[in-house]
């Protein structure tokens, strides 16, 4: 006898993510979720991003790792609230972790919430964190075919950031091919190439983030009014 269920496997996470999304909208918190393989430069990107902001700006960071609080220590020197989420073995952040740590951190909007996921191109893509956008990073020391190998995250990400472009003279990496592959999986994905070390391309990233935050907050204001 067959009983039809028709439920999302991750319905509990989806429910919590929907609550987070509503909280973000009500408190005008613009949240982005940074996803990449380990060592692609998520923390370096955040360091330079925070360094570019004045203290008057409302920004908070949640950074996920399986072990250690190294990233939170790296990021805490810029004057903004930073909290490490140690997952203790779990290979991704889920909505429950973000909810708990955001509450404990006491960050209230309006402002920008930068979430650095656990380094992993697979699992984080399945878990909605209520974010306004997923951002996938790919470094030039990886392969151009990563979007084809990990289509799930490249399909879901609004923006692909090619990192470590200062290393391009030393590695065999074709940025055009990487972008072509990403757009095979997700034709509308946006693209920025940058170096967190030299700052090349960084203005474009900051501009992208500001523009999306502005758009998000206008939409939130319209819904809340």
């Amino acid at each position: 006898m067959r009983e039809i269920v028709e439920k999302k496997v991750l319905s509990e996470n989806d429910r919590l993510a929907a609550e987070l999304r509503q909280r973000y909208r009500e408190q005008h918190i613009f949240c982005v979720n940074l996803i990449s393989s380990p060592g692609s430069g998520k923390t370096a990107l955040l360091e330079r991003t925070l360094a570019s902001y004045t203290q008057a700006r409302s920004v908070a960071v949640l950074t996920g790792d399986i072990q250690t609080d190294n990233d939170a220590r790296r990021l805490s020197g810029y004057g903004f609230p930073v909290r490490q989420i140690v997952t203790g073995g779990t290979c991704h952040l889920d909505a429950r972790m973000v909810d708990r740590h955001l509450t404990e951190m006491g960050f209230r909007g309006p402002g920008l919430l930068l979430v650095e996921n656990v380094g992993n191109l697979v699992c984080p893509s399945s878990y909605d964190l209520g974010e306004a956008a997923k951002i996938v990073l790919l470094s030039v020391t990886e392969g151009e075919d990563k979007p084809l190998k990990y289509p799930g995250i490249f399909h879901r990400a609004s923006l692909m950031i090619l990192t470590k472009t200062d290393l391009l003279p030393y590695v065999e990496f074709n940025p055009d091919l990487a972008l072509e592959n990403a757009r095979k999986v997700h034709p509308e994905i946006e693209y920025i190439a940058l170096s967190s070390r030299t700052g090349e391309g960084f203005d474009q990233w900051l501009h992208w983030l500001n523009a999306l935050q502005h758009k998000f907050q206008q939409a939130a204001a319209a819904i809340n009014s």
């Binding site: 028709e6 999302k8 399945s126």
Partner: protein, 119 residues
Amino acid sequence: MHEIGIASSILECVAAEAQRHPGTQVLAVGVRIGELSSVDKDALDFAFECITHDTEWEHLKLQVEWCPRRQKCGACAHEFSVPDLDFTCPKCGSNHSTCIGGTELDIAYLELEEPCAKS
């Protein structure tokens, strides 16, 4: 890598649904896994076997339906699959389409033991 978590979520759902049918054995659970779901079918099978081993769910079968990516043409509404990542509509040649399938991560059904007449 996260298939243990996915398998646990499936089992939690089965346990919750099973409570609505006391005394009836759940024989199988049917799930749909999409090409873009970032879930590997073999790893999920293995994870499911591991977490049900030596438990009351030892005999529960996991039936996976694999769902390839599908697109819907923005110009002529034709629906097509994209095995080679070619997004050109095979009917009208348009390059504008939206993804309508392949992200599934759903529990579709349970197979329950047929209730037998009790004396």
